[in-house]
Amino acid sequence: SQRKEEKGSGVGSSSSMVIAFKSFQHELDTKHDKYERLVKLGRDITIESKRTIFILHRIISDPNKDGVLTEAENKLDVVRLKIKQVAQELVGEDLYQYNRAFTPGLQEYVEAVTFQHFIKTRCLLCLEDINKPLIFEEEKSDVKSTSIELLDDPLIPVLEKKQSNPNILSLQVTPVDYLLGVADLTGELMRLCIGSVGNGDIDTPFELGQFLREIFDGFSYIGNTGPYEISRKLYALKQSLAKVENACYTLKVRGSEIPKHMLADLFSTKSELMEHDEDIS
């Protein structure tokens, strides 16, 4: 086994190749560590966004609507602080290199804020309005400065460094994350619809039906040109739409009985039933 020694000593720890690989080691480890930190932040963002959605669903049954909205807004502020931490990690980086680490988190955030916006305004919050609150003032000046510019070009860089605004930090949601978040939003809207019917709110279901049809049209237009996950979510979206349309249908069908039965059947039915009651007992 002298050959063992021979081999080991053949490679000096100071050879240029070894030096290069030591730098590779450092580069790879740094990258992986950052990725891992982003995964953790991403999980936090997911969880808090989900909780926001639960808070917002309480609007159906809670008499204190404003209280619910305030609570949701506070939760979302916490989420945005986490997103800011992500942005800090990404200063000077290519966002897409680490995207997979926190993309589920951002999608859930999109779901939460668009849900909040729908409840407040009955409209779809657009990507630009989602991204505006994700531009943060940076306190520390020792971090590389970043900025964001909103351009007409759809391919605008999502994380952009700029010399002019040295104290601005930003993380911008990508169009794909936006679309996937909105696709998931439709599931929450369906829940809101069914919940509304159960709680005697008969206007919201029809508004939701119209809104969901519009979103469905939008996604139909994208069709299979979108990312793979969209096609997968399209089926769930169609199911949600069907549930909402069925709820509207039921409301209309049962509503159709009011005038007739109220006047005509009411007494006859009742007296008839009373007779039969005696039969049974």
Binding site: K50, R51, F54, H57, R58, I60, S61, D62, R191, I194, G195, V197, G198, N199, G200, A247, T250, R254, E257, I258, H261, M262, D265, L266, T269, K270, L273, M274, H276, D277, I280, S281
Partner: protein
């Protein structure tokens, strides 16, 4: 028992071979599994019998003898308690969650049955403590074989769906007051569940079903109300509030 068969294996140094000693330990956990499964099967059988009894209330005739049914069901629950008492002996109490999946399903079913029973008796939601008592198990994890909160909630969600069905059948049986009381009950339950932050698991899925139960009962109440049946009539059912 197993120690008889192991020595016959001709591993070079069996006494120093930890892999093998591990295998033995592992197999004895399999032992627990088998015994637990057997007890769980007896529990499933009793649960089935209780269910058959309670299902009777949906029948037109069944509405009359609810109290009698409840008494019978109470008797069956004493069987449940002794079966659960046996189950507790099959594994160390601190390892509850190790084997949890094996009885989880039947326990949720028993919670449902107990909550249905209590509802029929009192039209109240059974508390977690009360279910634990009916089942003869602990309420708090630290004390031993207990009722997991998610299992409790799961059972309660099944109650909601059973009650929405009961509301429908009440109308068929011409009991128009019961659906209104059920509506109040389920609405309160719905309000309670809205306070929870659920993960994307089976409990969440069942909770989504609650919305449809609420919707269904809302429709029954509507049907009754447009026909003026919702308050005009004295309720003759067995469990007046």
């Amino acid at each position: 028992m197993q120690s008889n068969t192991i020595p016959s294996i001709t591993l070079p140094s069996a006494e120093h071979n930890p892999t093998q000693c591990r295998a033995i330990q592992y197999n004895s956990s399999m032992q627990s599994n088998t015994e637990i499964r057997k007890v769980v099967q007896t529990l499933e059988q009793t649960a089935r019998e209780i269910l058959i009894l309670l299902q009777g209330v949906h029948q037109e005739a069944g509405f009359k003898d609810i109290p009698a049914k409840c008494v019978k069901v109470r008797e069956h629950f004493s069987t449940v308690r002794s079966q659960l008492a046996i189950l507790k002996t099959k594994f160390p109490s601190e390892q509850y969650y190790r084997f949890h999946d094996q009885w989880r399903f039947v326990l949720q079913r028993l919670v449902f049955l107990a909550s249905f029973l209590v509802y029929l008796e009192t039209e109240e939601l059974v508390t977690r403590e009360a279910v634990a008592e009916i089942l003869g198990i602990e309420y708090e994890r630290e004390k031993g074989f207990h009722l997991d909160i998610e299992d409790y909630l799961s059972g309660v969600l099944n109650l909601a769906s059973e009650l929405s069905r009961l509301a429908v059948n009440s109308v068929t049986a011409r009991d128009y007051a019961r659906p209104l009381r059920i509506a109040t009950f389920i609405n309160e339950l719905d309000f309670g569940f809205r306070l929870l932050n659920l993960k994307n698991d089976s409990l969440r899925k069942r909770y989504d079903g609650l919305k449809y139960d609420v919707k269904k009962i809302e429709e029954v109440v509507y049907d009754l109300s447009i026909r003026g049946l919702s308050r005009s009539q004295p309720s003759t059912s067995s469990a007046d509030k």
